[in-house]
Every structure is written in C-alpha cells, then in structure tokens.
C-alpha cells in the first residue's frame, strides 16, 4: 500500500497556500473506495512569551534526515492502519501568524483509520522530525520553540 519511491513530505517556502490544500483534496484523493479524509492544519499562533508576542515563525530543517524519517513514519502508519493515502506538508522559512505551517492528510475507506492515522502522524511529525521553529517577536528578539503541548 505504500511506495518508497515517492516523497511523503513536501516542503513549502513560507506558508502553505490554500491552493496547495485544494490540490491535495482533488488529486491526492483517493479512488472510489475512499470514504474518509482526515486533515490536520497547524497555524502560527500569536503566543505571548513573557511580554513579547510572536509575529511569525522561521522554520529550518535537517532536510535529508526529515525525508528519511518520514519514509519510516509513512511505512509505520501504513502498516498500522488500512489507509489509502498519507501526505505531509511542512513550511520552511517565515510563516506569519494565522498562516498554515503544517498539513497532514490521511485517506481511508472508513473514517476510523484516516482519523487515527492522521492524529498519530501529527504526533510523529512533531516528535520525530528534525525541524526547528524560531518564534520571532513583534518587537525584536526571538524564542526557540519546543514541541510539547498537545
């Protein structure tokens, strides 16, 4: 059900545009036996850190390792859930508050598999992929984000 010659994560320079998500909905799909799509979108929040407000996040990644790790995650998830499709989009560079920095898309015949596969992939993307977000403040200064709160 999974292929190893395909890239399971796509990097975007800057925010992920809604046009990319529409394309995902249209082409990523699914064949006529797919009844469920579960989608997670991560957006940059105007978090308050001390007295400073986040205005954007600058993302960097160890890209080659991300690709290899994502290959493993894709294999794990396909083996665990009867899904027909799994794809991850991740931003690199600057993403402003409210914009989309992460997209996880899973498809399956019945909803349970797509929902659980999507959720587990979101967790694995955040815990396993070597990607870093530098939170830029509205004023000056920055803060290195650390993933924890679900």
């Amino acid at each position: 059900m999974y292929t190893t010659d395909v890239q399971h994560i796509i990097f975007f320079q800057g925010a992920i545009p809604s046009s990319a998500i529409v394309e995902l909905l249209q082409s990523a799909s699914p064949g006529n036996r797919t009844g469920a799509n579960s989608i997670f979108l991560g957006r940059v929040r105007a978090d308050l850190i001390g007295k400073e407000t986040v205005s954007s996040i600058f993302y960097t990644a160890y890209e080659q390792m991300v690709l290899e790790k994502m290959q493993e995650i894709n294999k794990t998830i396909h083996e665990k859930y009867p899904i027909t499709y799994l794809k991850v989009y991740q931003s690199l560079g600057y993403v402003a508050v409210e914009e989309i920095c992460l997209t996880v898309f899973a498809a399956s015949a019945h909803r349970k598999a797509a929902i659980e596969a999507c959720n587990e992939t979101v967790e694995l993307v955040k815990s396993e992929l070597p990607i870093w977000g530098k939170e830029q403040f509205a004023g000056s200064g920055h803060h290195w984000k650390i993933n924890k709160e679900r």
Partner: protein
C-alpha cells in the same frame, strides 16, 4: 579521516556555524569533547546526536565522511 558536523536550530545560532569539517576524531564521544572545547556554549543547550541521519544513544565509531549532526529539541509542525 574527515567527517562533517552539522549544527541546527539554536545550536547553529550559538556556534555561529552550520557545517564544520573535522579530521581525526575516533568516535562520537571524542567529537563531543572536541566540540565543547571549541564551543563552550554547547554545554548549556540540550541536544541529541545523529550519525548519518540515525539518532545514536551511545558512543559510535566514526568512519570516513561520516555526517554527524547535533540536534536541539524538535519544534516542527
């Protein structure tokens, strides 16, 4: 024998370095000591180490052209 060392995220910021080529380090423990001498601020930041894009938990012998990477806590997504 040459290996390369990659710094990411806050480590890149603190060391002012993204990539370094180093000769004659036998294993990851020796490399770690060497790097901490060169960049004392590394002592202050949590990170894990990957060799050829595999995270290692114990000392690993380094071979020609090994790609070592120091990875601070992830914050993707």
């Amino acid at each position: 024998m040459e290996i390369s060392v990659l710094f990411f995220g806050q480590l890149e910021e603190v060391t002012g370095t993204h990539r370094l080529v180093i000769s004659d380090v036998v294993d990851t423990d020796a490399l770690d000591s060497h790097l901490k001498q060169q960049y004392p601020l590394l002592e202050t930041i949590t990170y894990i180490t990957a060799v050829n894009r595999q995270i290692i938990r114990n000392k690993v012998l380094l071979t020609e052209n090994a790609e070592v990477a120091l990875l601070p806590p992830f914050s993707g997504g």
